[in-house]
Amino acid sequence: MIHAEGLSFTYATQSEPALSGIGLRVSAGEAVGIIGCDGSGKSTLLQVLAGLAPRLVKGSRQGSLCIAGLDPAKAETAARMRTVGLVFSDPASQLTGVCPTVEEEIAWSLGNIGESRQAMHRKAEDLIGRLHLEHIRFRTPHTLSSGQQQLVAIASVLILKPKVLLFDEPATRLDAASRRAVADLAKQLAREGHTVLWSSSSLEDVDGFSRWIYLERGQILYDGAPRHVGGQAWPAPWTRLAQAAKEAGKWPGPMPLREADAAEELRKMSAAARQLSP
């Protein structure tokens, strides 16, 4: 579905490339987590994949990129939007701010590419039912909570049925419950056949994704199974603690990638220690 070879991007105002020599192959229906620190190139990569750079974000792109048979930087807007959809971190900025209801907000992109009014109504109706947004259907988008706004923003991208869905740190401004809801939706979309790329600076957000990519200074350093990337490339504090304990022979279980796994293992160890003590 996504095939990038030697992909680099340099901003017009900078001499150093923000992305350098990216090679990426992602199959249809795959859910990939892109992790890295701030400034590692996650957002730039997603903007290049979405065709926004260098179309709107000024700069030069080298290398080849093919998503479902087209290069998003050269494709016509409608074709690009039907191939790649991008969800941003701030849901409020993704909403138009001019639509009086959620259903109109969701269908706004369809109007831009000249779909008929009947098609807009029908598709919005279907999507609202599918994502269970009936209870907020007639509400004004900017009066919703951040989590609800992010769901509306995702719906506004999904209405075009893009083959590839890119999430640029969509959980950054959400509370824990909303984070879970949005992440669950992304995983469900991957199961339904969409290719999902989700960027985050937190391992917790990409928990459950089949593949993780670790970016640093615009380059892919690790690409593979979560255990490999999470354990070696970018261990969380609890993973590092477990590694140190294992080296001292005091960590019997597997390396925990999530905080909850580490806590569970510590609970087990504590219970075992209580049983052994006289």
Partner: protein, 487 residues
């Protein structure tokens, strides 16, 4: 064959995303009391023109003026001035006039002189008063013996260059401190790359001594923008087109409807009021009462048309020509006062018609109707997005002032002291607006905003059965008045 779109529609998503923020900035600055002796209500226009070129500046000026007219419909007469300011700043930016503070100041003075050349004839033609505090300056020039046109020119040349100079300098400082990556995102980004980064000594923190000074008061609640009062009367349900027709007829009537008749011999000249304007004004007010917006229309006229009318009649009556009478210790020119009152009544009629439109139609409905008539959806997006941004920008301005106040920002009178107080508030507001515009540009592009010049709307405007009859009635009434007035 693909239709070629108008030049202004070929702006990219970055420019269109910037425009609502620029317009909101214009309106917020117009509504905010500044410690400087200038309004800065064209700051957003200057910013849009500098970052995105003359077309963007012209659109920001036009839309900003239209939205300001929602508060005071009489401001709409300065529409050409707002557009000209955007065009001039955009063109001067192309001539590298935004590359240093000094050049930006000169650019501001040039823009001020240009805008004064358009604003002064408009003020002079519409009665010789603006309805604001600057009318005292016009009165002073009239007292000094200047004609109506000369007094308006002198006032505009005194006020406008200073106002535009401060706006252009503020925009220059913003461009100078803006990250190059952010600047490059806008159409003029390459042009502004060589702008010299400067240290701003007069806003770089406050000394211990100054921290004991007065503090800013945090702005009170945000002001409501727009006059719309929801309702279900026949006038509420009429299309915006019908209400716009009434406004158009009222504006045209300024050119043909007499207010007074001159009767008598050379020795005993007399001026007698004619019933046209009083009949129309009271008729429209009766309509407002019937549809439940009488109180709101009354308040609007008291706040906008009354001060302007008083200023027009006073300035022209006291410093007019022809027969005079003594009243309240002042010598009043009868013929000039009569002519001025005709202009005042005409402007009041326009304000009343505009009020009947704005009080009974939401901005969304007006935009939907204009888009239905063929106005670009990008322009209607700019209007609606700016309207929605204004309250949040007012809140943000209040938060910044509060934060600066907590940091013991100095306050006080005087131009330089005013600048020291004002720029630390203004620059974060401008920077956050630009950052938001940058992010909005990406999201608009991702959602296909720039895909095609026309757009499918979610719904079509509802047209009641009586709408065309109402339009015919309005046209016939004004036609009848025109015929009888000149027969």
């Amino acid at each position: 064959m693909r239709r070629k779109s108008a030049a202004f529609l070929r702006l990219d998503a970055a420019a269109w995303a910037l425009l609502p923020f620029a317009v909101a900035l214009n309106v917020v600055m117009g509504l905010t009391a500044s410690p400087l002796p200038v309004h800065l209500d064209s700051l957003g226009t200057c910013l849009a023109a500098a970052l995105a070129g003359p077309w963007a500046g012209m659109i920001a000026g036009a839309v900003g003026n239209a939205i300001s007219a929602l508060q005071n419909p009489i401001w709409l007469r300065y529409f050409p001035v707002a557009v000209l300011i955007g065009a001039l700043v955009g063109l001067l930016t192309r001539c590298r006039m935004m590359s240093s503070a000094f050049l930006a100041g000169i650019a501001g003075v040039l823009v001020g002189i240009g805008s004064a050349c358009i604003a002064a004839p408009i003020t002079a033609w519409s009665g010789g008063a603006s309805g604001g505090g600057t009318d005292f300056i016009i009165a002073a020039f009239r007292q000094a013996g200047y004609s109506r046109m000369a007094a308006c020119f002198a006032e505009s040349l005194l006020v406008d260059p200073a106002d535009k100079m401060v706006s252009c300098i503020a925009v220059y400082f913003l461009l100078a401190i803006m990250p190059a990556k952010m600047r490059a995102a806008f159409p003029n980004g390459q042009l502004l790359q060589k702008i010299r980064l400067v240290r701003m000594p007069f806003i770089s923190g406050s000394s211990q001594h100054e921290s004991h000074g007065e503090r800013h008061e945090v702005a009170a609640g945000c002001q409501k923008i727009g006059l719309y009062v929801p309702g279900s009367s026949f006038w509420h349900r009429a299309t915006p087109g019908t209400k716009l027709l009434l406004l158009l007829c009222s504006a045209i009537s300024l050119f043909f409807l007499p207010g007074w008749a001159r009767i008598g011999s050379a020795q005993h000249l007399g001026w007698y009021p004619l019933p046209y304007y009083p009949a129309l004004l009271s008729g429209l007010f009766a309509l407002a009462l019937c549809i439940g917006v009488g109180a709101e229309l009354g308040r609007l006229l008291l706040a906008t048309a009354l001060p302007l009318s008083v200023a027009i009649i006073a300035i022209n009556g006291i410093w007019g020509y022809g027969d005079t009478i003594n009243w309240n210790g002042l010598s009043w020119s009868i013929s000039s006062a009569c002519q001025a009152s005709t202009i005042a009544m005409g402007l009041t009629l326009v304000a009343e018609s505009a009020g009947l439109l704005l009080l009974t139609t939401s901005v969304g409905d007006i935009c939907a109707y204009l888009e239905h008539l063929g106005l670009s959806p990008r322009l209607t997006y700019t209007i609606q997005a700016a309207m929605n941004l204004i309250p949040s920008m007012q809140r943000r301005a209040a938060e910044i002032r509060e934060a600066q106040s907590a940091r013991a920002l100095p306050a006080g009178r005087g131009f330089i002291r005013g600048l020291r107080t004002f720029l630390p508030t203004l620059i974060p507001l401008l920077m956050s607006a630009i950052a938001d515009a940058h992010e909005k540009a990406l999201t608009l592009e991702a959602r296909g905003f720039a895909a095609c010049p026309s757009r499918t709307r979610w719904s079509t405007p509802k047209v009641p059965a009586y709408d065309s009859s109402l339009q015919l009635l309005i046209a016939l009434v004004f036609l009848f008045l025109a015929v009888t007035a000149h027969s």
